[in-house]
Symmetry: C2
Subunit: 226 residues, 2 copies
């Protein structure tokens, strides 16, 4: 849409050539607007005013397309996040950048946890791991520490994507959490004492704060090996 702003007059014909970047942009628009299930090659082709097969000239398959859209979003996060001097703050900034990106584009969360070998995850791994030296973590422990942080972030990614998939577009999150909490309370307290106990906190908790608390927990653990 933003790419067509310059020539808004003619909608009946596409005048500019196809490119991988234009395809990725259109795919992101569809994913953001209507979710993962709305991204089909047919819908994408219609949006780009072309045939479904044309997309295959620029993109290998659907996996490639999803990897490209995810890389696009994550690369933006990682470049936006530079400039924290303190390593601890830098890691927190990366984590929060990830959270906000997944909050804005829940499908990114699904894709990250589904294909963790893709380039996007490597960028997160580098961003987090690069701070560990400055944090005083011994060389041989750095791999485990970076892995723990990235695993944690990917765990949230999947969880958040699932939540977004479940939520109707206009259902607000607090109503949904209230429903879950109500279900938790109905469980047998003898068998599920812990879930019973925290059910009250569920509806009033803040996902972003809880996520950051987890990052801080892992950072505190990392400090003990330093």
């Amino acid at each position: 849409m933003m790419l067509m702003a310059a020539k808004t007059k003619r909608t009946e014909r596409r005048t500019d050539a196809l490119s991988k970047q234009r395809i990725v942009d259109a795919a992101i628009e569809i994913l953001d607007a209507d979710g993962e299930s709305a991204l089909t090659f047919r819908a994408l082709a219609a949006c780009l005013a072309t045939g479904a097969g044309a997309i295959y000239w620029h993109v290998a398959d659907k996996n490639d397309l999803l990897a490209a859209t995810t890389n696009d979003v994550i690369a933006r996060v990682m470049t936006d996040v530079v400039g924290e001097a303190e390593p601890r703050d830098a890691i927190r900034a990366i984590a929060l950048g990830m959270f906000d990106a997944i909050d804005a584009h829940p499908w990114v969360g699904a894709q990250l946890s589904r294909e963790p070998w893709q380039f996007a995850v490597l960028q997160i791994f580098e961003g987090v791991g690069g701070q560990l030296q400055a944090l005083g973590v011994p060389e041989r422990a750095q791999f485990d520490c970076a892995s723990a942080l990235v695993n944690y972030v990917l765990g949230l990614a999947g969880q958040y994507a699932a939540g977004a998939r479940l939520l109707a577009r206009d259902t607000d999150r607090s109503a949904f959490l209230a429903t879950v909490a109500a279900r938790w309370v109905q469980l047998d307290p003898a068998e599920y004492p812990f879930v019973h106990r925290v059910a009250a906190q569920l509806s009033e908790h803040d996902d972003r704060e809880q996520f950051l608390a987890g990052v801080d927990l892992i950072l505190a653990g990392i400090e003990t090996v330093g």
Copy 2:
């Protein structure tokens, strides 16, 4: 297969009635043998010697089927794992039980990270959270701590499932890791210094040990809030 052991003579006709449990057992067999993509209603129906539509009498849809198979596997893990007196050991046992279950059934990892609101995740949450009181974690911090641990486990779950999906059935994991490490080394060391540094450790590291190291890291962090 194990259910047919008693009457192995006749294969041309199914004699016993369908049930949700029989469907779930057959689905697990298919998933274990040939992976997530092999589980279709047609394949499942053929395996059960029935029509595709019959399955819908016992199972709401494919989501329901996958949730049921996952619950089955996780419930087995959680009952096998009871009996550790020390809360720290209990949490480690649950985590390792999860790791081994996902290692044996990689599709469980995908399902857990895709649908974290399902009952299976609640069981993990209870199992982990129930130990925090004994660990001396203050009430108001328990929710965040349990959430961090579960998020971390779900992160691994997705990663492991993706690895299994990528690996050919007979390709061994070390060969795969060597390939990834080779790719990492080829990256620009100026832009990816950390990834470059740990590439050597990638091919010789043990996933299970690294996973447990992460659990210990989080446990160490949890102790600092106690």
